[in-house]
Point group: C3
Chain length 159, copies 3
Amino acid sequence: MSINPRELRYEVEELYYEYVECLDDDELERWPELFVEDCLYKIIPRENFERNLPIALMRCESKGMLKDRVTTVRETSVYAPRALRHLLSNIRIKGNENGQLHVQANYAVLETLSDEETHIFNAGRYIDCVVREDGRLKFKEKLCVFDSLLVPGSLIYPI
Amino acid sequence: MSINPRELRYEVEELYYEYVECLDDDELERWPELFVEDCLYKIIPRENFERNLPIALMRCESKGMLKDRVTTVRETSVYAPRALRHLLSNIRIKGNENGQLHVQANYAVLETLSDEETHIFNAGRYIDCVVREDGRLKFKEKLCVFDSLLVPGSLIYPI
Amino acid sequence: MSINPRELRYEVEELYYEYVECLDDDELERWPELFVEDCLYKIIPRENFERNLPIALMRCESKGMLKDRVTTVRETSVYAPRALRHLLSNIRIKGNENGQLHVQANYAVLETLSDEETHIFNAGRYIDCVVREDGRLKFKEKLCVFDSLLVPGSLIYPI
């Protein structure tokens, strides 16, 4: 990937925007397609990440497992309707080695239940590895490291 | 608009940033100038949008009506002073046909009353149509689709 | 700085992203390096800013004072562990005169205490002056004008 940094950040941003769109606009079936076959997706509390503790709230180790997760979401019936809305900031390419981009970004997920005010559901940092496959960028690794120690009770959707 | 996608997104972002600046920095009189004469501006709850129900919280069908709205805001006296602050994310050009750009973005409006903590006043999605007029981009259509079913009580300012 | 506006905004964004990274990832020692020697850093409530009142919650008038502030943070012991997370939006170059860029941006700082939900700690506007030194952009002046009149009790970290 020898294109200039500005062009590369543009491309990376487009990947993240599409990622968010899949989740926020309830097009979850498109979400696994943003990952390569052999991938890793994890949602972990910050403390566990910093202490290198393995426990994750969600863990998928292949695109197949991501698809299973989508099926699970679709089959979950006891889940009050709500809107999720991502705000991303600070999308930054921190390294570019052997065709692997190391990307970080800040995120906040806002949640709105039908008869409640909008609140911050989860916030933290993406620590990701992005690669090029068939001409377009995809996630090889995506860690969602959230700032709280409190486990969000209704974590069903990916972050 | 045959310029490259990266340049086009830059231009679109500048339009959105100026839009936000008008609202957040209380330069409301500049706000209608970001629309073409024959325009549509609506604030609607998500559910109404999804079910194609016509009811909107705010609806302006021309630049003249936008200017009227500004006058209304300026004449409203029973409105506690507050700061509004937009956070935008995920500004995305979803289509480009016949000189019309279809753009979506996530937004959150934070509100701070003078003796209260900052809270999320309204969050949702812009679903817009942007065109070029006299060399610069303007809104032809701007839908603010907010996530809540609760109608924000103090909705006087545009979103 | 005669480079094109798009390239310049890219460079400015990279500066802001690095700024946020220093604060959010607890790499505070790198924070003063983003300022020139002869600089000004202030955190002020919006009302004081608008009325030109001099009182600031934090005020540093040189890079040396910024470094002192870092020392103070590191030595503060009665400060419950928490995560801070910046969301920036609307980074805009408002002027470019005599090698000085006038830049504004919206910010929100989210705070997460270990056993609490994430909330908005502080929100407002950066009103900055950015210059080029040794080939890279740095802050000459950074005003954090926050929207509340309430003074955030636990303001120890820079914003």
